[in-house]
Amino acid sequence: MSFPSDIARPIADRWRELMQRWLSRRSPPSRSVTLDHSKLFILPSRAGMGFLLVVALLWLLGTNYENNLVIALTFLLVSLFAVLPVHTFANLSGLRLQLLAARPAFAGDYAEADIDVSRSGSRVREWIRVGWPAEEGAYLDLYERSSAEIRVALPVVARGKVRAPRLRIESRFPLGLFRCWSWVDLDIEFLVFPQPLSAGPLPIGATLSDSESDDLSVAPQALRGGDDFAGLKPYQPGDSLRHLAWKQYAGGRDLYNKNYESHADTRLWLDWELLGGRDVETRLSNLCHWALQAERQQIAYGLRIPGSKLAPAQGADHLQRVLTALALFPVKGGVGGQSK
């Protein structure tokens, strides 16, 4: 696939770009695509080339021995080879692919899309592979059923909204000597959450910053005193936290030690500012991890990141909102300033 030489690289890239542009003209993005001759490509596979080589050798054998049966066999195989692309093409032609859902995923994991593949006619379809190249993809048959739901996976690296590249749908039916394929764009966009990175136990009992004074009415409930505080220690790394070492911190501690020691109803803020000194992506990853942890432990949690704030709550929908907010956190702009 790739060119080994460095000089060839730009050419290959240009070529790929041209291909992409041509493809998007030919088959524009759409949630539902029906494969037809304008979208399908077909060429002999490597096994097909081998087959042709054998046919050529057989022809030599038949000609040199002036053996009509060998020649007839050669022609039979040539004719077989001529008939095959029709079947391979027919195996894909008329198939309808429809995006059902693009499942969100965590960065570094696989994002999965649910796709419905269906045929309209009575013609059965076999051995169809759908996937993003390099990945194996999913195999399906429409043999005894007329539609199938498949799940294809794409490895995602970066968080955010990720537009999936064109999906390849391929078939080598019936003999594997021809490869018919298409590149379809089902307009798939994945929501990719940050990769969860452990930042230690949940920041339970951490106080709020001064600036968030308007939240103080809620804050006391969200804090928890007592023994848990010790656990927080390693995660108050260095200066920046000390820089934020607030007055309320010490005061609040005494206050709540008594009242809330064994209380499960503490509210937890996952705060951007708690993770000072790390870069943006690490912070997001840590917050993500915390959110998942809190959800697992069934502790209500809120999220505070620059530009958005979600009140403490719990449940799948809340988690979804929190993770989405993390995923869509802008890559650039004001982040550096906020952390100082």
Binding site: L58, D141, F173, G176
Partner: protein
């Protein structure tokens, strides 16, 4: 290495082994036993690997196996550039490949090889049973190829069905190619299958040779005449001339075989044709003999490529007849021509040659003729009369002593054609008349309204020729003097009691079976004529017959018209099989509605019930809700309530309404269509 999905499942393996077995089976007989065993063992090993009881062999074992097989091949075959070692090599590659049959690629390689092995079968045999078997092989290999893709295809019925269907579709194009594609001659000389034992008449004659042949009813020649047909007593198919006698064995002698300096006029050279036209024109189809000699009536000329005429009036093929071979002959039998050529000294010596000693009584007897000054023809008449008087024709002659001619002529007096020919020629030579033994076939059986003459091995015959000054070589058949019915009606009636006595079932006695055998031979003959010997001449004739004249334009049309028809048919098939069953009108109307909704930005999900869809529309696009409600209700009544009024209503509703017209909010609800996960 191959990834998980590329590993071969059980069905794939079994199909591959089935294909290999089918392709190798006919070769088992001639392959060295160790190769067959090695193949079977490799299959066993691979299956054990599949069951997890064994590992695939490692590098060292593989290298060892390769070394062993190469050594084995070198020991088994002296000559490398021949057909058998090639087949053996292919069988070996199967075997070795089986030991590393891991990925789909290996499977393809193995199956492509199987196609080739299946084809080599035809180089050995081109008969109908072999052709049928070869077809079976191709079907199996193709099925195995199909079975490599998916577990549906690997089902035996499905794989075979697919294979048969694909091959059946390929047949028309194959026929077209077979008829149209030009046949180039051999591009280079190829090794021939020449290990097979020679059959039929050999290049020497010892007592007993012809008795052996008389026991075989295998076809030897099929002869179709173009024009006059020779009467039965003229049907002598000359193959060999024996000039040299060592007291027991007759052989061709030195200087006849082209390899020993014998003169052969190969076809294509300038040659003087007799002034009179040929008496007989015929085409001989000869079974493989692995010998170069061909069979024809006296004074033959052949225009077939690779066929030449020898100085002793026979036809010879440049290379031995390894496969069934057809040649056209024109013959000028002797009685129509006079030959005033003189024998050279060399030829005199050659045709008067006798061993130094032995057979004194015969020599003395012949000396008498010579001394009495009789002419050659009179001597011959005397000898034949002697045969006629007291000799018997039998397939089971008694054994003869050291002076075999004496013993026969004056002792047993019972013999077979070879005894008569041999003693006659000996006597004539001893009497000073140049003479030679001729071996070939005599007679034949008509098949199907005299379409062709079928000559079988048991029609093998030996007779004599003597040189008459001014008239040349004349045929004399001493057997005819003893048993005229042998010549007239064939061996079967001449030795009725003894004929084919040794065979288990005397099939020739049952007339129905005999008829069936002739019918079968007829089919074989047609097969050979139309398929096996289809060459550029026949191709041209056929095309002329089909097209009137062979011009590029007509040829192009001949190819293009069926191809265009086939393409149209395929497109039609594609289109028809893609169309779903025609939906009832209500459903079609509802689909129309769904299409409009999709254009407006809200598509019905696959499998979503109309009611659910309506509810979703109600949530996402409230403005459309009332109309969508009504349409859905009308559809449900029309589709499930079988209400014709509802159908009409649905149609009316759809005619007036478009979702875009009263869609006011824009595509706000669009995002709702992607579920953002659980």
């Amino acid at each position: 290495m191959a990834n998980q999905s590329e590993l071969l499942p059980r069905e794939s393996l079994l199909w591959i082994f089935a294909a290999q077995f089918a392709a190798l089976l006919p070769h088992f007989a001639q392959l060295p036993l160790w190769i067959v065993c090695a193949w079977a063992f490799a299959v066993y090993w691979r299956l054990e690997v599949f069951r997890g009881r064994r590992d695939l062999p490692g590098r060292t074992v593989k290298l060892l196996v390769v070394g062993l097989t190469v050594a084995g091949l070198a020991l088994s075959y002296r000559r490398w550039f021949a057909l058998e070692p090639m087949v053996a090599l292919l069988a070996i590659s199967f075997t070795l490949k089986n030991l590393e049959l891991v990925s789909r690629r290996d499977a393809f390689l193995s199956l492509l090889l199987a196609y080739f092995v299946a084809a080599t079968l035809f180089v050995y045999e081109q008969t109908i049973p072999y052709a049928l078997y070869g077809t079976v092989c191709v079907v199996v290999v193709t099925a195995a190829l199909a079975a490599q893709l998916g577990h549906f295809s690997a089902r035996p019925r499905r794989a075979l069905g697919l294979s048969l269907r694909l091959l059946a579709q390929a047949v028309p194009l194959m026929l077209l190619l077979f008829i149209v594609m030009p046949r180039l001659g051999p591009l280079w000389a190829v090794p021939q299958n020449n290990s097979g034992t020679t059959t039929g008449i050999s290049d020497s004659m010892t007592p007993g040779d012809f008795t052996r042949l008389s026991k075989s009813d295998k076809p030897a020649l099929r002869i179709a005449f173009d024009g006059p047909i020779p009467p039965p007593e003229q049907r002598y198919w000359r193959g060999l001339v024996y000039a040299d006698f060592d007291g027991r064995r007759w052989s061709q002698g030195f200087g006849v075989d082209p390899r020993e300096g014998g003169v052969v006029r190969w076809q294509g050279r300038e040659q003087k044709l007799p002034e009179v036209g040929p008496r007989y024109r015929y085409r001989v189809i000869q079974e493989a003999t692995n010998n170069p000699w061909l069979f024809a009536m006296a004074r033959p000329i052949s225009d077939t490529r690779g066929v030449g005429e020898t100085a002793d009036d026979r036809l010879l093929k440049k290379r031995p007849v390894y496969n069934r071979f057809a040649y056209d002959v024109r013959s000028w039998p002797r009685e129509t021509l006079t030959d005033d050529r003189e024998l050279s000294d060399f030829e005199y010596r050659r045709y008067l040659q006798l061993p130094r000693g032995g057979n004194p009584r015969t020599r003395a007897w012949a000396e008498e003729f010579h001394a009495s000054g009789l002419g050659a023809e009179e001597i011959s008449a005397h000898v034949l009369k002697y045969f006629n008087r007291s000799f018997t024709y039998t397939l089971k002659p008694p054994a003869l002593g050291a002076d075999s001619i004496d013993d026969f002529l004056f002792g047993s007096q019972q013999g077979f054609c070879e005894h008569f020919a041999s003693s006659y020629v000996f006597t004539m030579r001893a009497a000073g008349v140049p003479a030679r033994v001729v071996a070939g076939y005599q007679g034949g059986e008509w098949v199907e309204q005299e379409e062709y003459l079928l000559v079988r091995e048991y029609d093998a015959h030996a007779w004599a020729e003597i040189w008459l000054p001014g008239r040349g070589w004349q045929r004399v058949d001493p057997t005819a003097a003893v048993s005229p019915e042998r010549i007239r009606d064939g061996l079967q009636s001449a030795a009725a009691d003894e004929f084919m006595q040794d065979s288990l079932l005397q099939l020739h006695r049952i007339s129905v079976l005999n008829r069936l055998r002739l019918e079968w031979d007829m089919i074989n003959y047609r097969w050979y004529q139309t398929v096996v010997s289809f060459d550029s001449d026949k191709q041209e004739n056929l095309l002329k017959k089909l097209l009137g004249e062979v011009s590029p334009l007509r040829l192009a049309a001949f190819i293009a018209v069926p191809v265009a028809l086939a393409l149209t048919g395929m497109l039609l098939w594609l289109w028809l099989s893609n169309r779903g069953r025609r939906l009832p009108p209500a459903s079609r109307l509802y689909q129309k509605f769904c299409r409009r909704m999709a254009r407006a930005g809200i598509a019905r999900r696959p499998g979503e019930a109309p009611r659910d869809f309506a509810r979703r529309v109600g949530i996402e696009m409230p403005a459309l809700a009332p109309m969508v409600e009504r349409i859905t209700a009308a559809f449900e009544r029309a589709a499930y309530g079988e209400d014709p009024a509802a159908e009409k209503q649905l149609r009316r509703l759809l005619r007036q309404w478009s979702p875009r017209a009263n869609f006011v909010f824009g595509r706000t609800a669009d995002g709702g269509r992607i579920a953002t996960g659980e």
